[in-house]
Amino acid sequence: MSSHSNAHVAHHFENAEQQRQSAQLGMWIFLVTEVMFFGGLFAAYTIYRSLYPEAWVVGSHLLSIKLGGFNTAVLLASSLTMAMAVHAAQTDKQKASANWIILTMLLGFVFLGVKVVEYAGKIDHHLVPGPHFFVDPMAELAKLEAAGIQVGQHLRHAFEGANPNHIQLFYSLYFAMTGMHAVHMIIGAGIMLWLLVNTRKGVYSSQYFNPVEVSGLYWHFVDIVWIFLFPMLYLIGRH
């Protein structure tokens, strides 16, 4: 328990540590609701994948592992820079903390930029669900073979048996899941901007860094969502 009076401790808290733990608990409760929110999307994904496995194989083959993998690395790196921002704030290195926050925000924008490129590609290839959705699994199979990719028996069966309407369902879930994730990234970038302004103002110190810490929890959670989205959307059924 800290004995010195602290201007940052709100009157209804006993001390700074209690205030900090309350802030953490509040953010964790919010994150549990977020788990259930994304959980609904993951449940829909799992059920339809178990009903239409062939369509999921085809849908996943039309996504770019290079772009998805690159984005995974970018987001993991942004989690590191976020952790470093909290670390710097905890150790009274506010200038360094501001720089780590900027870097985190920039990596977030790189992720979103790559996502824009991916979405543009899907629009070009008529893979956006709706009246203009069009996919010909056999033509896609021919493209894979033309690219010199080894097409096994299992994969051939999937492409032959896939119903285009079910592939459209895969893309509905792809856009819903990555879209909701991207919305969280945009909100995260806004939070980073707010943290940056406050850090520059000198609001945070080793005695008070709760907003940096709980914003970090949110950022890492969004990273975790992508950790699951990447294999489930891009890698499933590649063999």
Binding site: W28, V32, M36, I65, S79, I224, F230, P231
Partner: protein
Amino acid sequence: MSDHHVIPVRVYLTIISILMVLTVVTVWVAFLDFGFLNTVIAVGIACIKALLVVMYFMHLKYSARVLWLYAGAGAVFFVIMMALMLSDYRSREWFPAPAAWEVTTTAPATSAPH
């Protein structure tokens, strides 16, 4: 109470290295054929990565135990939701629906449960 527990930077660097290696591994194993185990492996690796982020980047390992309760509750309720929804969807075709429920269909269910 661990007042202001500051995790050394080298721990963060170790964790990010493991996370990057696991990302490469998950892409690599996706191209090998393990049958239904491919999904198990992909989700398993993702769970390990998520656990590393939660424990170290989100400091849960060094946090008050009440936070473990809440983080655990999130996982438990997610599993309950998945288990109940999947057991509903996957068991629907096991038994024919009672004839009285077949209002909109023309042919009543005749096949025996398989």
